[in-house]
Every structure is written in C-alpha cells, then in structure tokens.
Symmetry: C2
Subunit: 280 residues, 2 copies
C-alpha cells in the first residue's frame, strides 16, 4: 500500500503513536487507524484493538492508558476506525447503525454492501498496510476489543485463526444474533435470513467448533455494573458455548465496573500481558 499517510506522530513512553490514513480496496474509502510502536528496531509483535459503537481510532488511543505497559512489553498496538466514513457512504441517524457501527462484517444488503466491508478491511487491507510499512512481526498477532469490538475480536479470531495467535475482549457482544444491537445491525447488513448470522456470532461460532484447538485460552473481562450487561452482552452465552466446545475461557466478572474506558484502563495491562505471553 503506497498511499499511507501519517497524519500525526507523538512520542509516547519512548515509542511513537502514529495516526494514519490509507485507502482500502475493501471499503472503497480512506480508512484511519492509530499505531503504537515501542522504542527500538523491532520487528514487534502486534495487537489489533477493535473499538465499540460510536468510536473512531481515537478512543482507545487517548483513553485506554495502554502504552506504558505496551512499551514495557515491546508490543505494538493498532487501533482502526470502526467503519467506513465520509460523503457517499451510507449512514443512519441512530448511533448503533451505519458510520461508527460497522460490526466487523462484510455487509450484503443495500445500501450498506457498497462500503461496509469491515471483515475484509480488518483481516486483509489493514494487515497489508501494517505489514508493508512498519517493523511488525506478522507471525505474532493478537486481537482484542471492547463491546462491538469485543464481538469483532472474538468472531474474527474464530473465523481467521491463521491470522491471530491470541484473543481477548472487554464486555463483548458475545451473541449478536440474540440481542437488540446485533439483531438490528445484522438485519440491516446481512438481511432477515438468520442462517447467515451464525457466521458472525461468537457464541454460535464457538458452538459450531470454529477454530477448535487454535487458542489455549480466551480472556474476557466483564464489568458487573455495566448497563448493557443483561440485555446486550450476555457473557453467559459465550461461557456456555465454550464449555460445550471444550474451549478454555477466563471470564472475569469485575464487581462494580461499568462499560466505560475507566473499566478498560483498569484491566488493559492484564490483557496486554496475556497477549504478550502468547506472542513470544
């Protein structure tokens, strides 16, 4: 990808935070991501972070407090935007559909199918631009994310175990086929036929045996004061699926924590260490 633009560069904990833009063939739009590169020559193991509804590449980058530990561990972190954007890209007034709500899948239905190809973007174009331009060891990649991005991390890891050696999530939407956020988004992007939904539902993928034996353990943190817990997130559905499938899961129910980045920053270092061990 020769069209990479570095829009901002900031020194941070001895390394660098870059804000980047590049053209994506999958989405047919410019896409933005942030990248933290530790000090040194590399090549560095890489964690992909997927953010939640309404987020851009900025939220994790400024709010997660991840770079102190990433610097210490020598771990690079890329955090892409959550959807294609701009004029000519379909949108919806609601916060949970359209721009800022790409759900990390390739849409099939109009008007979304033209640009909303986030699964292809994350698994192909983003990987290509990172690999071509930065000192990253693409054999050592992990993936994590929050809420809609936790859904993205789990589903993309289960569908593409060749790409990722470790996976974790914060407050993920573990079964979008069985919650209002997911039903709305999947109806719009994939159509009414629920048979097509299972391939983008972490709990259903797990039950179907996807990526069996690919991940020794999966780590999930869930705040128990999260206002979305019972209606949207339902971690017990993934817990049951892992048990059926024989997948080891570390599901930590964190008392008193909510859905915010104050929750994420409290436990992000545990996740970075979880990934770093598996990316050695």
């Amino acid at each position: 990808m020769s069209d990479l633009e570095i829009l901002e560069e900031h020194r941070c904990f001895g390394g660098r935070v870059l804000i980047c833009r590049h053209g994506s063939a999958a989405t047919g739009t410019p896409m933005r991501f942030s990248l933290f590169l530790p000090e040194g020559e590399g090549p560095f193991p890489l964690l992909i972070w997927l953010s939640g509804l309404t987020c851009t590449e900025d939220n994790f980058t400024t709010k997660a407090g991840a770079y102190r530990k990433a610097s210490e561990l020598g771990l690079a972190i890329a955090a892409p935007d959550t959807s294609p954007r701009g004029e000519g890209v379909a949108n919806d007034e609601a916060y949970d559909l359209g721009q800022g709500a790409g759900f990390y899948l390739d849409a099939r239905e109009a008007p979304w199918a033209a640009h909303f190809k986030m699964e292809s973007y994350i698994t192909r174009d983003l990987q290509d631009v990172l690999s071509a331009n930065f000192p990253l060891d693409m054999e050592r990649r992990g993936i994590s994310g929050h809420s809609m991005g936790g859904h993205g991390a789990l589903t993309l890891a289960l569908k593409h175990p060749d790409l990722f050696r470790s996976v974790s999530a914060f407050a993920p939407i573990v079964s979008p086929a069985r919650c209002p956020w997911g039903e709305k988004a999947f109806s719009a992007y994939l159509g009414k036929d629920r048979a097509a939904w299972a391939a983008h539902d972490a709990a259903l993928l797990m039950e179907s045996g996807a990526a069996r034996y690919a991940f020794d353990e999966i780590l999930i943190d869930q705040g128990m004061a999260d206002g979305f817990l019972d209606e949207q997130l339902k971690p017990e559905l993934f817990e049951e699926a892992c048990e059926k499938a024989g997948q080891r899961l570390i599901l930590r129910r964190q008392e008193g924590y909510d859905h915010s980045y104050f929750f994420i920053q409290s436990f992000i270092e545990d996740h970075l260490e979880f990934h770093r061990v598996r990316l050695s």
Copy 2:
C-alpha cells in the same frame, strides 16, 4: 457546600472517578471537576491538577493515564474545569481567551471581572467543596498542571504556600507577562498596567522571593518537540529565576516529546511519586 451534585461515578483501579458539579460563590456559576478517590477509607492526600487552554475537567480525567499509579500510591486527584462557563458568562471566539482560558487569576476588567475569578475558585471554593464532602486530608495537598495549568500550578503555589506542600508542572507558561498567550489574556483580564501582571507570573514571583523556602524542589517536565516551546513556554526564564532565588528546580528537557497528553501520560507517574513523597 450542600449543593454538590455527583453527575457520574465510575469504578477505576479499585477506586472511583467522580464527575461533580457545585455552585461557586467566586465565579457565580456552577463549576465542574473530576475527582479520583483511591480504594479505602482515607483520608487521602490530594493533588490538584489544572488543565490547559481549551480544556475542561474531562481532558486530564480521560487522557492522562494517572489513576493506576494514583491508586497504588493512595493519592486522590481533583481536576477542575479551566473557567466559568454558560450563558451570561463572557466569552471570546478565540481559543485563548474567555471560556476555557481562565488563566487561574481573578479578572479585574469588564466584561471578565463578573465571573472570571479562577484564583479564588481554585484556592477557596474548590478546596471547601472537596474538604466538606470527601475523605481528604487537606493538610496534605499538592498542585500540578499543564501549559496554562502549569502556569496556574506554579503561581498559585507561590502565592498560597500555606495551601500546597508540593508543586510540579508539565510544559508550563512560566512567564505570561513575556509571551503572546499571557500578554493577550493579562491585558484583557488585568488591564494594560503591567505592574499588576507580576503577581500572576511564575518567573517574576520567583524572582521576587515569593514562597521562599516553602518548597524543597519544584519538578517541571518540558518536551523539546513542543511547538509552543520557544514562543510561549520559555522554561529558561523560570530556570533563571529559580537560580537567582536559590530555589531548587528539577527541569527535565524531554527529547522528542510534544505538547500533547501523550507527553503527559509518559511522565505523569514520576510527578505523582514526586508529590506523594512530599505529602506523607
């Protein structure tokens, strides 16, 4: 202060982040601040953080990555808004005057004098609401801040050494009487007579012997890739003033770092430790 409202509460690193609003007699407006309280009963030593131009109580709270170390040290941190706000409060279209640019002084000139009483707010009303409502040890207070807030931290510490036992700053405006930001703000808030400016200029206060022997050391971090370094910040003016006054100063020139919160987060833990030692 019986009118304290807690607008948000988030668990964070075992403690709590509160977003609060209360009425200030000094500004005649509602004022907002954030407060991090560590886990436990307290009373906790307290660091006051003053933010820079354009900021609200939100910037430090979400971007500084300070609460992991504050939790470990058992240190509370209060981060107030940078000016009065709202309808009926004077403002200016520029980012460096009016709302978001209070400069931590009590304005004398119209139209600012009606509400822009940030020195009285920070040193009196904010302290009162904190003391009355939270388990804080008001005998153990420190102050820090960034840019305009670094100016605020240095000047308020030098003018009120009875309130603060420790002071540090990131990229402070050390001599507003000798830089464009300060000349503009002081002209508007204090009037054209520069004799009145010296009481709000950290370098001039230091040279005048203010707070002599009150602080064993002052810590300042300054990024050497900061775009405001030469025209606005001029740390050498404070360095010279400290040398003349016999004040020990730790001025760390950090190569490659800019004016952003990526710089602040890289060194905030050093500052928290600096304060905690002096607030024992």
